[in-house]
């Protein structure tokens, strides 16, 4: 879920602090920090001419917090997601076919609320301190089926919104569904699903800040 600020309102760290306080208020136990890094790649032409048109321009790389040995690639326009060993980053550095344009870090605190795991964090570029967005990740641990857990997660989201509404913050969290079927993903939830969700969330976040 990403944070949609009210029209005219600005993002600030206070919102993040309030969201963390809300998680604790629901009985959440702080479970450490987390960080996920998203890299926007741009193609590097071998020669000085412009790159061919069919080379994808929205090439995303993702290093997930709980999968340190794996690196995920997403091509949103082509609805492709794949994963490789984490050493692929070193290979890409050597190949120089794609260069990292900008890296965003999603980082914050992790909470355990019974059978739910909550990650509340901010989105900051790695080379700057500006806050680009606030987002959160919710996982219901006993289930792996997206269909079967849909109702539970929707109700959790309602409870969360209710609790947060009491703080009168200038904005609210929005959940945008990712279309996993487009990417060829099944009902059984995997880290590839998470990668797709991050890509969707990132796009929404940037659109929210721009507007």
């Amino acid at each position: 879920m990403h944070w949609q600020p009210n029209p005219g309102a600005t993002l600030n760290s206070q919102i993040l602090a309030e969201a963390c306080a809300c998680a604790e208020g629901l009985g959440g136990a702080k479970d450490g920090r987390w960080r996920t890094a998203m890299t926007f790649y741009r193609p590097m032409p071998r020669d000085s001419s412009a790159p061919p048109a069919d080379v994808p321009r929205d090439f995303l790389g993702l290093a997930l917090h709980d999968r340190p040995d794996t690196y995920f690639f997403i091509l949103r326009a082509h609805r492709l997601v794949l994963h490789a060993d984490a050493s692929i980053q070193a290979i890409m550095e050597k190949l120089q076919s794609y260069k990292a344009r900008v890296v965003f870090n999603f980082e914050g605190f992790q909470y355990k609320l019974g059978d739910f795991r909550l990650r509340v964090g901010k989105c900051v570029p790695s080379m700057a301190e500006t806050l680009r967005g606030i987002m959160m990740e919710v996982e219901y641990l006993p289930l792996s089926s997206i269909e079967k857990s849909r109702q539970i997660l929707e109700e959790f989201f309602d409870i969360w919104q209710e609790a947060l509404a009491k703080k009168s913050l200038p904005g609210h969290f929005i959940h945008i569904e990712s279309n996993f079927a487009d990417y060829g993903l099944q009902d059984h939830y995997t880290s590839q699903h998470t990668a797709v969700q991050y890509a969707t969330c990132m796009a929404q976040l940037m659109a929210a800040v721009r507007s």
């Binding site: 629901l26 019974g114 269909e147 109700e155 409870i159 995997t190």
Partner: protein
């Protein structure tokens, strides 16, 4: 087998030889022992040396009136010079003659002593526990009490659930009634292999269980193998995995049940294991109560009742609470967000026979005493 009392008696044996003893009684004088109470077997008594003095020993008439010294006992022949029960010269009554016998170093053999002890215990039991069935050898002492407790709660037997139904019949009926469930059966030692296999399949790749099902599909087992079934796994795909163990392999007596997430794997997955997830831990606790209830109220049909009840949990993450109408709720006592984990298990009589109402679901806080 020496006892302090006996030792004490042996010491005093030499003290009073001159005193004439009644016919059949041993020539000894014992310090008066306290009267026997029903709940204290005599070998626990600290009688003999330190017994408190009695108000007065009962005379033979009193013994007859109290039923201790009855005509049948008196008329028994003295096979080795002992009456049952013994009346000592001082009037003390010893119901367990084997104790005196040992003290008196009578020449009875072990068989005689055992027979005497058995007779003594039987008589005592008949006297002090008349409501129990007189069938020591078949251990019906305890079940007699259990039967008495059950008789006040027995509900009319269902016509459909017949006594003596086999395990295969029960599983077949369950498959028919609950088509979503996947039933797998195991011998006791095979289950640990299965549990370990589950842990290796808990990763990104969703293992196709059809292969395993072929191995453990109970329908394909020969009748001899059905007798070895000790663990039943009920898998509701993507919702839960329940493990039920049977008391004797091949029987229809469940003795433990536990619920787990279908993603869980490892050695702790068994009928007495505990899930890592709160929701399944709480369902397991509730299932323990349901199992004990079915065993006490309808032991012959406890397995089909339990299995049916387990299958009602297929709606664990979909069915809203019948009281508050919500799916997820914060339990104030546990401080956890939970779906309705309670399903009623109490049996009610209906036209079709005994059944539990499997249509309701309750949060822990919403469920009433009747559940």
């Amino acid at each position: 087998m020496e006892r302090p009392g006996a030792r004490g008696a042996a010491d005093r044996r030499h003290q009073d030889r001159s005193r004439p003893a009644p016919r059949g009684a041993l020539r000894r004088r014992l310090r008066p022992t306290p009267p026997l109470r029903p709940h204290r077997p005599p070998h626990h008594r600290r009688g003999g040396l330190h017994a408190p003095p009695l108000p007065g020993p009962p005379g033979p008439r009193q013994l007859e009136d109290s039923g201790v010294l009855n005509p049948s006992l008196k008329s028994r022949g003295n096979s080795w010079g002992l009456h049952m029960p013994l009346v000592c010269p001082d009037g003390a009554v010893v119901a367990y003659a084997w104790k005196r016998q040992l003290a008196g170093q009578a020449g009875a053999s072990a068989v005689d002593r055992t027979r005497l002890a058995l007779k003594a215990f039987t008589d005592q039991k008949r006297r002090f526990f008349p409501h129990l069935e007189d069938d020591l050898l078949n251990h019906h002492g305890e079940s007699g009490i259990a039967k008495r407790l059950c008789s006040s709660q027995v509900l009319p037997m269902s016509k459909e659930l017949v006594e003596g139904k086999t395990l295969a019949d029960i599983l077949k009926n369950l498959e028919h009634e609950v088509p979503n469930i996947r039933i797998l059966t195991y011998q006791r030692r095979d289950w640990s292999k299965r549990a370990s296999l589950l842990s290796s399949s808990v990763d990104e790749n969703h293992v196709d269980p059809s292969k395993e099902q072929n191995l453990h599909n109970w329908k394909k087992l020969r009748s001899a193998s059905v007798d070895q079934i000790a663990v039943i796994e009920l898998l509701m795909p993507s919702i839960f995995r329940a493990v039920v163990s049977l008391h004797l392999a091949g029987s229809v007596n469940p003795d433990a049940v536990a619920f787990f997430s279908p993603n869980e794997g490892g050695d702790y997955i068994h009928s007495r294991g505990i899930s890592v997830h709160h929701v399944f831990r709480l369902v397991t606790e509730h299932a323990d109560k349901a199992l004990q209830y079915y065993l006490s109220v309808d032991p012959n049909n406890s397995l089909p009742l339990l299995l049916c009840w387990i299958c009602s949990y297929q709606t664990l993450f979909a069915k809203v609470c019948s009281k508050c109408g919500r799916l997820l709720m914060m339990d104030k006592t546990l401080a956890l967000l939970l779906p309705p984990v309670h399903r009623p298990y109490f049996l009610t009589s209906s036209v079709k026979g005994q059944s539990s109402d499997l249509t309701k679901a309750y949060h822990i806080g919403c469920s009433s005493e009747e559940i």
